[in-house]
Subunit: 310 residues, 4 copies
């Protein structure tokens, strides 16, 4: 059996590293509790990636702030060249003239060009021609960013808050449930579950991959209960609830699926620590028939009932 376990040993890339008791490698939302420090700045930088993953509020804030700053810079340029090189300026007050230059800049960078105000002379024309080109390129960038933001595939694979140890056939099983909250269909859904436990009398952690009753489903239109049967080959075999808590166990789940609408593979991950595990409970079935349709009430994803363990 030792060999067997060794065979199923699976480093998820998280390392057999010394960690303190209670350490959680993976948060519930799938982010890691690992941070690289002192990464060289220019290697790290990924301007597009940052702008695509920013929240919408911050993104629009960024765009608006950039718009103000660039117009301010160009207004200053027009002002320095001399306000007399813009036709149609109405005011003779310097501050108001600056404002008019500012709005002229806005009309130029958006290629709006009312023409009420227009540049005269070489310098002002060079600045305006450059600004309109810059406007087009910025807009090209904005178009790419908007597309990049919107076309990101959104998987919203929702995990049950708790996992359970429930009876499974004539043994028991480790189980949790997932469903796809989005309307797009996920296909060829694959799950992998891994167990990380603290080695006895040591600060090291071992990782075991858990064999699943079924690790792939072709369709995923409803709720999928992922099941690891606790047979004699399982690293969970004969372990009690208390032992699992003592070993500071963490169950790491990854789900990979093909998103039919974005045509991309999406990845999702979550984790269950040993205290998020209910022993002797089983999940309640969520479906009912209505007019030849099978309705699945996903709001009951966490509903369990008592069940005697084998």
């Amino acid at each position: 059996m030792a060999t067997k376990r060794k065979f199923r040993f699976n480093d998820f890339g998280l390392g057999t590293k010394p960690t303190s008791k209670g350490y959680r490698a993976l948060n519930k939302d799938g982010s890691f509790n690992i941070k690289k420090v002192k990464v060289p700045f220019f290697n790290r930088l990924n301007f597009f990636h940052e702008l695509v993953t920013l929240s919408w509020t911050k993104f629009f804030g960024f765009v608006f702030a950039g718009y103000l700053v660039i117009n301010f810079i160009f207004a200053t340029l027009y002002y320095l060249i001399g306000i007399e090189n813009l036709t149609g300026i109405r005011s003779s007050d310097p501050t108001e003239q600056f404002m008019e230059a500012f709005f002229f800049s806005a009309q130029t960078i958006t290629t709006l060009g009312y023409g009420q105000v227009a540049p005269i002379g070489l310098a002002a024309n060079i600045v305006a021609a450059t600004e309109s080109l810059l406007g087009l390129l910025s807009f090209a960038l904005a178009t790419g960013l908007m597309y990049g933001r919107f076309s990101k595939p959104v998987s919203n694979i929702t995990y049950s808050t708790k996992a359970v140890i429930a009876p499974y056939r004539d043994i028991n099983g480790f189980m949790f449930r997932v469903y796809n909250a989005k309307r797009n269909q996920l296909l060829e859904v694959e799950a992998e579950v891994s167990l990380s436990i603290q080695r006895e009398n040591s600060h090291l952690r071992d990782f075991f991959s858990l064999e699943l009753e079924r690790s792939r489903v072709v369709f995923f239109p409803s709720v999928w209960t992922v099941v690891h049967p606790i047979d004699e080959n399982s690293p969970l075999y004969n372990l009690t609830e208390k032992e699992l808590l003592d070993k500071d166990a963490e169950f790491i789940a990854t789900i990979k699926a093909y998103d039919e609408s974005s045509l991309n593979t999406v990845h999702s991950r979550s984790s269950y620590k040993s205290h998020e595990l209910s022993w002797g409970e089983k999940f309640v079935y969520l479906g009912r028939m209505e007019n030849d349709k099978l309705l699945i009430d996903v709001s009951g994803i966490d509903n369990t009932e008592k069940a005697d363990l084998n």
Copy 2:
């Protein structure tokens, strides 16, 4: 043999769930008769996905309505700021002035900017500068949406309306035909067929995956007849037409292919219920040679002729 069947057991993710007699898991067009209810609203939302999958009529309706509403809002803003802050307004009638503000707004948001009407003063200029930025961003979004809509890979894998039980070598086979109606080439086409039947004296359903004579073809330039040979390992072995009807059988077919022009993998699926199955018929060959070209008349996709079963 029991073991064998167990081995080939294949839950397509549709579940061994109690369903009423006559239930169809998958419609002919590939949509599911399963509906998730009470999905949290914000989880479900996918603005981009909705706008990309909308019909063209609805999409243009949506764009046009949005254009009217936004111009109406900005026209109101210009009107509230005071129509005297727009130069070139011709009318003195309030309604007509509002219309002029409306068209000025349209000229601003599209960055058209004739300049016949133009903003004066701080407030009107701020609104106009904001509107033109908003116009550019909306247009960036529209560009992304248009690209997203057009570049969606369109597989149009057409299934024969009926499947047949026809003689195959010295046994019989379950067969249906498919072809790609689009001009783009599909490559590395893979088929999977699954059988769902009602368990005897039970409301549960079992799923069996059916072994195919050939589950993958490299090219797909013409018509492909997908064949499941009914040998002793087949769950259809020795079953009669009446038994299949009694068991409320459903054949679920999925086809996956690489689309050479969109460079994406496309998925297609359909299903045949037991009453859509013709026993003792075989498909008619559709090709004929003409000037060194092989012509395939796909309009005959459903053509069958009588054939004695083995």
Copy 3:
């Protein structure tokens, strides 16, 4: 051996169909000599696909013609509404007025909007506002098309014009050469070769997949000689040049690779008929060292020299 052959039997999806002598399933450029006829029109249509695969000349012709037609239509609308609803029209000659309306339309649809000519009144303003929205949407479409056209991955896998039967170790082999003419790197290149021969005294064709000495290379920076060793398991074993000509043999090659710059998988295919096969020739090595660089002269891709067969 019969079983073995059966095992390696490989329908490329081209069918064991009756074809006339001399039939070529696949042309040298990878297109098929198979044509689907009577495909329902609306199923077949794929507007985006057509516009993306059109030649550049035709594409620009199409865009320019569309620009003329749309401007003509809108010019007619402005003319019908009444030329007095456009300010700044200079001519009193109807034909010249129509031309001015035409150019005003061009200024509107491109959102250029000089403003020298501008709409007055409800009807002209509605048409102009609609036209500028239409312009933006058309331009969004054009942007998508340009991107779609340019970002198509271009594999330019160049095949040697002839294949050879050359000595290989202590037997002989079927060989051809390929190289990537583009500067982008192809990775994980996989080749598949299939042989199609006419069945004796029959109009049917059999397909055999040919085992390759190496069917995958990780890198593809230079020239790859694809080799099928003609051992006792080969369907070519003991066949003479004349027999191959009589059997009207066709070698179908497909190459699939990951294009590092477009991040897509590209596919390429070609075919060699038996008369494009040189017996007793081997390919000449094309490399030479220069300053620690290995130079490969790809212009010699077809260079062969005599070689005694085993």
Copy 4:
């Protein structure tokens, strides 16, 4: 063992070609020391690819130069048609008039259209209408290029400068370290390592694929030490440092990963020549716990310490 080695023989596509001593097939940055020459020009050309992989400085230089050239051409056209066909020209000096035509062209191609200067008459209007269409199409191209440039997945897999031969369990191993310098998560990371050595008394090179302790990790949040155990099946078995130098060994590493943010597979490669190999050194562990987070100091990627070899 000979058979075994033959089995693991792996041509990376670099060829068993005669090369001079000290030849490096792959540079540290992953580029090849192989150059194809005499590639037919039109086959080689890939306009989009060049513009997408150009440095940003060159890209903007190219755009700006193109802008100047096109405006110069159109200014010449307007000038040839006759400056009197543009309204609003202020100067009577030919050079200044040409400059005004130049800026009018810039206002037209960017669809800015102030309207201070505007075309009159057929010829000038035709040129202006054509120029604005050309402007829109160029801008469509620029948008695609910007998106293509920004959305390129950037893997920045950083390799340790040196590889080591370090103790591994009760034998030794060939090891190097890698980490992902970007913030985006890489998943399903796969490594392949190959050894290229000069054949004794020959100019030919042999390639061996090296078996890894672990060739795939699911997550890659920190540093991964890639290990090839030097057991009796390893082509490195019993080889000394001097022998490796004599054989002019080159270790070729390729890493392939799924980039969660760009949703693409990224490839990276590097190589270690025998003189870049430290014998009897092992890599130092880089992690430390801080507030339940594991911090990895990647600046120490090259840190090694003495270690006695087995």
